[in-house]
Each structure stands twice: as C-alpha cells, then as structure tokens.
C-alpha cells in the first residue's frame, strides 16, 4: 500500500519535472525574441512612415515653390532684366519646420539672339533634414 502510494506520488511529480522547466526556458527565449522583433519592426515602420511623409511633404513644398517662382519671374517688369542669380522675390511661405532654397544657373546674355531661359534647382528640407530637389526652368515671358 505504501509502495503504491509512493509510486503514484513519484509519477505525479515526474509529470511536471525536468522537461517543463526546459520548455519554459525555451518558450521564454522564443517569446522574448519575438517581442524584440515585433518592437523593432514597429519602430522601423514608424520611423519609415515619418520619413516618407516628410519626403512627400517636402516634394509638395518644392512644387509649390516652383509654381510661385514661375509667377515671380513672370511678374518682373519688362523694363528690368528678367534673369537673376540671386533669389527671386517669391511669394511663398514654407510650412513650419520646412525650408526652401534655390540654386540658380548663370543668366544668359541679355540680347535678342540668345535663348532667354535659366535652369534652377529648388531644394526643400524637412524638419528631420530630409531633402527633396526639383529642377525647373524659367524663361523670359
């Protein structure tokens, strides 16, 4: 009777002994790894989303500036030289955190035989420093 009772007790303990501890350790490692991967993936997603959104917005800023630039060049009085290597007086305000700069090519010789156009590079910078460039051409109206 005592022997049978000991045997049952031993079997009961055997069911939860040894392998359960190993399983729990392995499971902890696996789940920990999964959580790390999940958190890292979500972090990558969020940062990538922010960068892409800012890149798209910077592109829009560059486009808006380009449209305002064309208007500004067209508004130059006919009595004045139409071309300038210094920034044109563009009526445009970039959104908060964004900035726009232009790099203008040299002006053509202002005569009646030289094509009167000027390439410019518009650079829009996002709050995180991401830049979008847009190359445009303005011409004498």
């Amino acid at each position: 009777m005592d022997r049978r009772a000991r045997t049952r007790g031993d079997e009961a303990r055997d069911a939860d002994a040894g392998s359960t501890l190993v399983e729990v350790l392995i499971a902890t490692v696996l789940m920990g790894s999964a959580i790390i991967v999940l958190v890292t993936g979500m972090s990558t997603l969020f940062s990538s989303s922010i960068q892409n959104r800012q890149a798209t917005t910077a592109g829009l800023v560059a486009r808006d500036y380009a449209e305002a630039l064309v208007v500004a060049v067209a508004a130059v009085p006919g009595t004045d030289p139409w071309c300038s290597t210094t920034p044109y007086a563009v009526a445009y305000t970039a959104p908060t955190g964004y900035s726009v700069t232009t790099t203008a090519a040299g002006c053509p010789v202002n005569d009646t035989t030289t094509p009167q156009f000027q390439p410019l590079v518009i650079t829009a910078t996002s709050p995180t420093g991401r830049t979008e460039t847009l190359r445009v051409v303005v011409r004498k109206s």
């Binding site: 079997e11 069911a15 939860d16 392998s19 359960t20 399983e23 729990v24 392995i26 499971a27 902890t28 696996l30 789940m31 790894s33 999964a34 959580i35 991967v37 999940l38 993936g41 979500m42 990558t44 997603l45 990538s48 989303s49 892409n52 890149a55 798209t56 592109g59 486009r63 380009a66 090519a105 009646t112 035989t113 030289t114 094509p115 009167q116 156009f117 390439p119 979008e132 460039t133 847009l134 190359r135 445009v136 051409v137 303005v138 011409r139 004498k140 109206s141």
Partner: protein, 155 residues
Amino acid sequence: MKRRRPDRRAAPHGEEGAALELALLFMIATALIVTVLLGFTSTSSRATVVTRTARGTDYDADAAMQAAIATVRVGSCASFTPSFTLNNPTALRVDCSTTGAVVGSQRHLVLSVCPTTVVTVPCPDASSLLRAEVVFFDDGGIVGRAVSVLSWSNQ
C-alpha cells in the same frame, strides 16, 4: 486485482508542453504581424519613389518645353535637346512643327516633348509628354518680340 494505471504516453497530456506550443504560435503570429508591417513600410517607400519619379517627369517635360520656347523664340523651328540636368535620367527632346497658319509676322508652332526613345519626328501625340501650341511675334524688327502660349496639354 490490481488496477492498472493508463499509459502516460497514451493519456491526455493536460498542459504538458503547452508553453512551447504557445511560444511557437506566438512566434508565427509575430512573424505574420512583422511581415505585414514591413509590407506597409515597403509600399510606403515605393509610393514615395514613384511619386518623386512622376513629379520629375512632369517638371522635366515642363523645363524642356520652356527652354525650347525660349530657343525657338530667337531661332528657327527645329528640334531641341536640353543640355541642362533633368530630374530623371530619361533623355528628352522637343520637336517643333508648324501649324500652317502664318499671319503676318507671327509664327504659329506646335512643340512636343518626347522621350528620345521615340524615333518618330515630330513626336506622335500618343508618345508626347507635353504639347504646346505657341505663337511667336516677330514684329517691330525683333525676332521673338513676344510669345503667346495658346494651349498647354499634358499627357
């Protein structure tokens, strides 16, 4: 008579081994979630690139057209190839053709921006990225004294 206990291997295991199975399930679920998240990121990045390329194509066509108008204004109606840097690597040219309407000292011309991969000149409308009908005024003793853009059609 001694009652025989059922074989442990054949008996239901209860929660024995459940931790490992749950961990594997969690791993699979996590992998699926991460895959979906990375898919969103990849799509977002691709959309940004596609938007940038499309924007570059639009402004390249516009820049080529503006330069061609300025060139034809002081010259003759001929194909123009931009020598300045464009947004996209795709090379463009601008073809010039007359509309046949000549009124005094006015030149009525049609300009079409075309990828250089299209060999047909002038550029067929189906391949044209941008088409403009322009009048150049050569009066007052000045070639290209003024310019009037009659139409401006994007593809």
